[in-house]
């Protein structure tokens, strides 16, 4: 683990800056010249019609894709090519559009796996499951239990996640991301496929995470009601280009956004 070599940021400072990012696969351009920033401790929504490049944007932010052009600055450091695990170690966690849990593990182990980057007892202690290895296991278990309490999933602690209903899987995934104690939390459609009650729960959790831990959150969501209620600022993508950026109210009134969502009369 590297020492924190980044400046300590106050609320409202720019945490992550995306500058002129383009991304192409062969002939297909997923993103074209997109710039926006995410400020410390805000909830930032990325919206846009299907295929607008929202998930590609998240993938660029956490190093899963490299932008063909442009740059991404995180905590004041411009990153050239960053591997996903480096992004994770730098403090970026995320959840996935299609749940990507470790299916054969229990809820508890999934969240414990999220603590992997925080654990450092070496291989030989691990071999004997003793001393620092066991102490660490217990210490992190306590943290994990706090997260479990926070997200109200005590009852499924030891259930293999493959057997859980979709809504709970999404919640476990959030728990796993929180276990990484991220600076920046990326949520890719956290409420897709949920019923109203589950959406309300999830919204509550997102707000609580943001307020209690001061975690900066970037989320992709299709439910406009949720987006407008939750987010501080919204960026709108269409066909890989940014068409609007601002507070929910500003974006709602933007003509191009209305056209993109409702279609234009020709």
């Amino acid at each position: 683990m590297r020492a924190p070599d980044h400046p300590i940021l106050a609320k409202g400072d720019v945490l992550l800056a995306v500058e002129n990012v383009s991304l192409g696969f062969g002939g297909v351009k997923a993103l074209t010249d997109v710039s926006f920033d995410i400020r410390k401790s805000e909830i930032r929504a990325i919206i846009g019609p299907n295929g607008a490049g929202k998930t590609s944007m998240l993938n660029c932010i956490n190093g899963f894709y490299y932008p063909t052009e442009g740059s991404i600055t995180f905590q004041g450091l411009k990153r050239p090519k960053m591997r996903p695990y480096e992004a994770a170690r730098g403090g970026i966690a995320r959840t996935f559009q299609n749940v990507a849990l470790f299916k054969s593990m229990s809820t508890l182990d999934n969240i414990m796996a999220g603590r992997s980057i925080k654990m450092r007892s070496n291989f030989f202690w691990q071999l004997f499951r003793h001393g620092p290895a066991m102490r660490e296991e217990v210490e992190h278990r306590k943290v994990v239990e706090e997260i479990i309490d926070f997200l109200e999933i005590q009852h499924i602690r030891k259930t293999p996640v493959g057997r859980l209903p979709y809504g709970l899987q999404k919640r476990v995934e959030l728990a796993r991301a929180l276990a990484m104690e991220p600076e920046l939390l990326l949520l890719d459609e956290p409420m897709a496929g949920m019923n109203l009650e589950e959406k309300e729960d999830m919204s509550r959790f997102i707000i609580e995470v943001n307020q209690q831990f001061g975690t900066t959150i970037a989320l992709i969501e299709h439910d406009m009601g949720v987006v407008m209620d939750l987010s501080d600022r919204v960026v709108v993508l269409e066909y890989g280009r940014k068409i609007a950026d601002g507070t929910p109210d500003e974006v709602k009134r933007d003509q191009r956004v209305i056209d993109a969502y409702l279609g234009v009369a020709h």
Partner: protein, 318 residues
């Protein structure tokens, strides 16, 4: 320095000094390359149509050759035996579809792959139980395959061409051509490609998976039979052929699992590379490098291009 000279200079000097030997080596590489390609085609056929990487293709080569020779030994006329072996491959295809594939629809690829290990071992045991473990002679002349050699004087020496090898090259090329047409031009060919993309999606548009699978496994069985006759005629029919058949795997890695031209070019690269390597560089390390050279070539190649020669760049999504 001496070792560098021996690796990088001497073999090429030798090639230049004795071009007839080089031609001879290239020819042998070409023939085995074509035959590797033929075996690889059996894999490609099944992989394209069912997404199953059929490890048992190698044993099917041996198995079909054994049935053919075994029937002949029982007094069945050669051509009738050939026909009956074809029938046996159909029965095998039907059985595999019913017993192995149908219960495993929509399972992860790797599970189906491992199931074909099981099939391989079953067929090895079954084949040895019936035909015994000792090597057999292929009924070359009875199948009207040419024998003998032609020596051609060229480049200051003689290059020997086995008639059988020439025939093998021609027959294998015809088979490959037919399969390519079958895949790209026929209705069944299109259905096959649909099934390979997604079992579920193919089912939903009314393609019968079971039929398709029987067809491709049967076709792969016939390809295996042809490969078995050719290899058997060159090296005898025994279970050690299976090790040769495994060489089709590096061929596939080079050429990609779904590409017919890939299988051919991969086969030629492996066949020729292996013969050149063995003949010119093998003596440096005591020979016998043919057993692993193909795999190492494929491995090094994979590190450079994980998607194979003709595969598209893999874009991972999450």
């Amino acid at each position: 320095m001496d070792i560098l000279y021996k690796i990088f200079i001497e073999p090429f000097v030798f090639m230049g000094e004795a071009p007839d030997l080089l031609i001879q080596t290239l020819w042998e590489g070409l023939v085995s390359g074509i035959l590797y390609a033929l075996i690889a085609l059996g894999f490609v056929l099944i992989f394209k149509a069912s997404g199953v990487f059929n490890f048992a293709q190698g044993i099917m080569v041996v198995f079909s050759a054994l049935i053919l020779v075994g029937l002949y030994e029982q007094g069945v006329p050669a051509l009738l035996a050939l026909l009956l072996t074809g029938g046996a491959m159909l029965i095998l295809a039907l059985t595999v579809e019913r017993v192995v594939l149908r219960p495993l629809v929509n399972q992860p690829d790797i599970i189906l792959f491992m199931a074909t290990f099981g099939l391989t071992y079953f067929l090895i045991g079954f084949g040895e139980l019936i035909f015994g473990g000792s090597p057999k002679e292929m009924i070359t002349s009875e199948l009207y395959l040419p024998q003998g050699t032609t020596e051609v004087e060229m480049l200051g020496g003689f290059v020997r061409f086995q008639h059988l090898d020439i025939a093998a090259t021609v027959i294998a090329s015809i088979m490959i051509g037919l399969l390519a047409v079958f895949f790209s031009k026929t209705r069944i060919g299109r259905a096959l490609r649909a099934v390979a993309d997604s079992h579920k999606a193919a089912l939903s548009v009314g393609i019968s998976l079971n039929q398709i699978w029987v067809i491709v496994w049967f076709a792969a069985g016939i390809v295996a039979l042809v490969a078995g006759i050719m290899w058997g005629a060159r090296a005898g029919v025994s279970f050690s052929l299976q090790i040769i058949a495994l060489k089709a795997l590096p061929v596939l890695i080079l050429g990609g699992f779904t590409s017919i031209p890939g299988a051919i070019i991969g086969g030629l690269i492996i066949g020729i590379g292996e013969k050149l390597g063995e003949f010119y560089w093998g003596p440096l390390v005591g020979g016998g490098i043919e057993t692993w050279l193909a795999y190492v070539i494929a491995l090094l190649f994979l590190l450079y291009r994980p998607q194979g020669l003709f595969g598209e760049k893999i874009i991972e999504r999450i």
